[in-house]
């Protein structure tokens, strides 16, 4: 069980921060005209005794979402049961206040409680309480942030979801499952050979990925809580690029068994793959649309890699990207409104977001080696891999690119992120 210090540096200027090296900042805010809710998260009573400062974790979550900015509490000694002095908070510019406490129970666990206030209207927006083991104080803090986010934006928060990513340290590759802020990482798989393309099953219990442990790429489905792994594609040649259908019953995969890299559909329980489409070109990187009816993919059938889509029956191939000569790695937001992908511009590989309805694309990063984009389950944030000062790093970004954060994680190179779904009981 590894834990990491959270070290939050905030670039507070709302002006042109993009010239400043990203690596210095955990959260970068760029651009003017952002509408962010000013919120005060008071230090939780009792958190001074803990290494995990609940209010810091909550604030970092809220700021990373791009929808909030922090207002330091003008009032001290607040908790969930005090009626706060709203006029002082209003004066400080806060629209909302979260205050709470953490206390140790007789059995060694911690009781985390909080209450949210609408400062403008003087309204009590409710609260929650959790009794958790010391190791789960972060989870409790993420739940607090989810509550605040949902109450104040109307959208479901994603702070208590999980992400997967891969690290390479020396000759050792590891697949990690971490909190959505990259912290609290737990190792799911350690291997002397590369692991790529982890993909969460829609129920959040399993990861499909490509492993080279048998000296060729094969696809496993791995139950992260039990550690049980199933080899579901080990055909002659290369097996890669697993993508789950939204119902979790089918995986789209790339197989070279019949010649060339071609797309197939495979039952999640294994068995004989069914060819999706046939071509003489490279077809790879399938991604299902949220309705499960279409599959986006990358093909060089037109002479350069571009993104196409095809119905799940294999009929009606349509080209989706038309600008540039290298467009790869499509990911579709769960609300179906956006496609994230990587486009080569000059020598740089840059994350782009396309609005599906209009077809309008925007490059949203200042970095030049972006890879493996994906959306948060509420479609509001992007998670991607890039390079910062020569090292591989993970970042989140709002869809407009205005608020970005570098995720903490393991030492060494960190790559291949994939954001898991909302937890479904």
């Amino acid at each position: 069980m590894m834990r990491f210090l959270s070290n939050l540096w905030i670039a507070c200027a709302l002006a042109l921060c993009s010239q400043v090296s990203l690596a210095q900042f955990r959260i970068e805010v760029a651009g003017v005209g952002l509408t962010q809710v000013p919120v005060t998260v008071a230090p939780f009573r009792g958190q001074d005794a803990l290494t995990q400062k609940i209010s810091d974790i909550v604030l970092a979550d809220l700021e990373r979402s791009g929808q909030f900015r922090s207002i330091l509490s003008p009032v001290s000694s607040l908790d969930e049961s005090t009626k706060p002095e709203l006029s002082a908070l209003r004066q400080a510019g806060a629209d909302a206040l979260a205050a709470g406490s953490v206390s140790k129970l007789a059995d060694g666990r911690f009781d985390v409680r909080f209450r949210l206030w609408d400062v403008v209207n003087g309204q009590d927006l409710g609260g929650q309480g959790f009794a958790v083991n010391a190791l789960d104080l972060r989870v409790a803090a993420h739940r607090v942030a989810d509550y605040i986010y949902e109450k104040l934006t109307g959208d479901k928060g994603v702070f208590s979801t999980r992400i997967a990513y891969i690290t390479k340290v020396g000759a050792r590759y590891q697949l990690w499952v971490a909190d959505a802020d990259g912290e609290n990482a737990q190792s799911a798989l350690a291997s002397p050979e590369p692991i790529i393309s982890p993909a969460w099953s829609p129920d959040g219990n399993q990861l499909a990925y490509v492993s080279f442990e048998s000296r060729k790429p094969v696809i496993y489905v791995h139950n992260v809580s039990t550690g049980k792994r199933r080899l579901i594609a080990n055909f002659k040649g290369s097996n890669s690029a697993p993508a789950w259908s939204p119902d979790g019953k089918t995986l789209a995969v790339t197989l070279s068994r019949d010649g060339g890299s071609q797309l197939f559909l495979l039952s999640a329980s294994g068995g004989e793959p069914r060819r999706l489409i046939q071509s003489n070109s490279i077809d790879t990187e399938p991604a299902f649309s949220p309705d499960g009816q279409s599959i986006f993919f990358v093909s060089d059938r037109g002479g350069s890699p571009q993104i196409y889509k095809v119905s799940v029956t294999g009929l009606g191939v349509q080209r989706v990207t038309f600008t540039g000569t290298y467009n790869i790695s499509p990911a579709i937001s769960s609300d179906g409104r956006w496609m994230a992908y990587i486009s080569r511009m000059g020598g740089a590989f840059k994350l782009h977001v396309m609005e599906m309805a209009s077809g309008t694309s925007t490059a949203i990063t200042e970095t030049s080696a972006d890879e493996s984009p994906g959306f948060s389950p509420n479609s509001k944030l992007l998670l991607f891999a890039t390079q910062l000062q020569g090292r591989e790093a993970l970042m989140t970004s709002t869809l407009d690119g205005k608020v970005k954060a570098r995720l903490n994680g393991q030492g060494g190179d960190i790559r291949e992120p994939h954001w898991g779904p909302f937890f479904k009981p």
């Binding site: 309480g129 737990q186 992260v224 809580s225 039990t226 070279s256």
Partner: protein, 175 residues
Amino acid sequence: MKHLVAMCFAVVFLTACGTSVPLNDVPVVDVTANSVQGSDANGTGVNGTGVTPVDLGKTTASADASAESRTVYFDYDSFVIKPEFQSLIAAQVRVAKAQPTRKLAIEGHTDETGGREYNLALGQKRADAVRNAMAILGVPQSQMESVSFGKEKPAVTGKDEAAYAKNRRAEIRYQ
């Protein structure tokens, strides 16, 4: 410890989905009341949303001095076998034909630029090109398997064209 974590994740996830109940009425969750099944050495039997680690150990592969005589290098964004590698391929065909029961893996690689999965497909094209060249010279397809490592296993590290040129390759390996 891990089981506790699993359990706590499960409990927090299950219970924290609550709505805006007044705090006084908030049901405080009793984590220890949940029992977790014991687990064996392989880490099976844990329920919930914790993570059981799996370790595949250390690699057993070692460097091979004869690699250069079995490696075909490619130009940028190319899958064409250059004329200077025809004699290397012919020599490997003779080796393969002399040992018809010995399987060959042809492993395609790319340089580090571009996406991992797309590079996997590009490396596959290089491996396929070498496999097809050997097939034309009489090595049965059933004796060969072409696979790709994409950009995952560079021969040399480095961020310049000299390094990239060394990494755009297909290696013929006897099993």
